[in-house]
Structure formats: C-alpha cells, structure tokens
Symmetry: C2
Subunit: 190 residues, 2 copies
C-alpha cells in the first residue's frame, strides 16, 4: 500500500501532519495552529496525531526542527557561494535576516522558548543550533573577527534585525542596509 492517502492505516501520517502544519505555519503563527485543524487538514480524526506526537508541543517541536534545518541550509549555502570571507559573512547574515522576514512564523517557532528551551533542547534541535552558531563562528573568524564576544554580537545583530523587520518595525531593505553598514564598521580594514 505504501503511501496511499486514505484508509485506516495511513502510511506516513507523521510526515503528512508535519507537512500540513508547515503549510499552516506559512499563513499563521504557531500559537494559532490547533492540533485538530492539522488533523482535519490531513483527513484524520482529531485524535490521530497523538499516535505520532506526544503533545501539541511535540508537533510544534517537529516544526521548529524542520524550520531550523531549513534556516541552517540557507545560511550555509549562502556563505559557501561567496567569493571571499567578508562576502561570506555578509551573505550569511543576509540569508538569516531574509529567512526571518520571509518565513516569520517558522522563524518564531525556532526560537520560541516555550517550544524548545535551549537548556534542554530536542536531540534533533541541539546539533542544529550548534551548527548554526558554528557556521557563524567560522565565517566571523575568517573575516577577522576573533574577539570573544564577536560571534555572539553578530548573531544578535542579524537576529534582532530579522526579528524587528519581520515584526514590521522597518523594511527588509532597511534591515539589510543596516547589516551592511554595521559590517563596514565592524570589520577591521576596509
């Protein structure tokens, strides 16, 4: 039967539920996504999700992990495609900010403390966070930013710009321009 959609046994309901929820995440914040609505979208009873996720929070965690993997991918390929270290750092930051603005609800889900407390993250989430921070650290070091607080500051910079732009406090273009001028000031020699 493999993955036929209907019938008593679904094939891969977990995946289907996540897919449906991810689609909802494009249009509404995670807080407004109801488990029952996701179940409805997947054509199963309101209780079927409980056989694949412990909680509503379980589903949310899965969404956060998917989104984080997505974000990490974009940042990585952006830095990889850049010609020099400085451009790589700029491209990574741009990708980060752009993701926050273009997928605001997914971005929020990733960093929602009620979804994933960094003190005890999911087994899937922890390495993703580390990888993101690692990618940033590598790019920062290659560009010449080697002081202790530099990578945290850079993370904070792009995170804040992305968050505020996503919330509508200024434009994506403004955020990108601000990141650019900030990099100009931060990097040692022009």
């Amino acid at each position: 039967m493999s993955s036929s959609k209907d019938g008593y046994h679904h094939g891969d309901l977990a995946r289907a539920l996540e897919d449906a929820a991810m689609q909802l995440l494009e249009r509404m914040p995670a807080a407004e996504i109801s488990l029952r609505e996701v179940a409805r979208a997947a054509n199963v009873s309101h209780n079927a999700p409980y056989h694949h996720f412990s909680d509503r929070l379980g589903l949310l965690k899965a969404l956060a992990e998917r989104s984080m993997a997505d974000l990490l991918d974009r940042v990585r390929s952006a830095t990889a495609a850049a010609p020099d270290p400085r451009a790589a750092l700029a491209a990574g930051g741009t990708a980060y900010i752009r993701y926050a603005v273009e997928h605001p609800h997914a971005f929020d889900a990733v960093y929602d403390p009620t979804v994933c407390v960094p003190g005890s993250p999911t087994a899937t989430m922890a390495p993703l966070i580390d990888a993101l921070e690692g990618a940033l650290a590598d790019a920062a070091l290659a560009a010449g930013l080697d002081r202790p607080g530099d990578v945290v500051a850079l993370w904070g910079l792009v995170h804040g710009l992305g968050t505020l732009a996503a919330a509508g406090h200024f434009t994506l273009d403004d955020a990108l321009a601000a990141a650019s001028t900030a990099l100009d000031r931060l990097l040692p020699a022009a």
Copy 2:
C-alpha cells in the same frame, strides 16, 4: 465607595485587571494568560473584563503598552545618568538587554506582532515606539554614529542580544559582553 475592592461596583476594574495580568506576565508568557484567569485573580466574573477591554487582545495591548513605557523609562534614565555620550549609548543598550532578560514575557508582549502590528499601532503605543527609537537615535548620533543604517543596526543589535539571552541561548553576561565589544568595534576612535 472610591476604590473599595469588593461589591458590585468595583471602582477601577480596568486598572485592577491590568495589575493582575501584569503579575501573571511575570511568571508566564502572554499566550498562556487567559482572560478568565485574570478575572478570577481580580475576583470578578469571567465576563467583567469585556466591559473594559474589547477583546482578550485588548488586554494584551494594554499590557504591551505598559511594558513598553516601562522599558522606555529604564533606557531613558540609564542614558541620562551616563557621564559621556559613549557611556550613554552603552548604558542604554545594557538597560534594553537587561529588561529583555529580566522581564522576558513583558518584552515579548511589546514586540508580539499579533498584539500590536507596527503598521497600525495603538494610539498609546506608537509614540512610545517613536520615543524609544528617538532616544536610541540621539544617543547614537551623540556618540558619533551618523550613517543612515546605524540606529537600525544598534536597535537590532541590542534587540537580538536581549531576545536570544532571554530565550536562553547564552547568558545575560555574555550578551552584555558582546554588546560591549561590538560597541568597541563600532565606535570611531577609542
């Protein structure tokens, strides 16, 4: 009657409800605060709040405005107490980050897009946001940061550091240290 707490007519229920809700905000995120719970805490029926706030969102907006006013106060008095422009900028940023970490739920409420879309903010919220941005702009300019994207970048920096520290991705001390080294790099002459 004035402000006696019980009885059919309450005196200033709106205030009492906001106070109760603010207390709850110290312990739990805004999303988990239920209107009925607030009503219970104020010893009124579950429907009394509707005579003072249009919605659940109405209460949330009031909380956000209060919190924003609080945040603005702290940033302002921090910058005002500093000896020189550079110290003022640093103190303002520190106050901002500290508020995010010490009152994470209030801070989140302020910037929650579902509570207050910056495109059409509350009549009370709009001037507060402008004032905060203005305070930052003044401090930045006085410290010598006069390029177009500078104030947005500074806002993004402290906002991101505060948010990430509040979410537990690093310590408050790490955030403050990062802000400090970033300022060192950003400011023209040492």
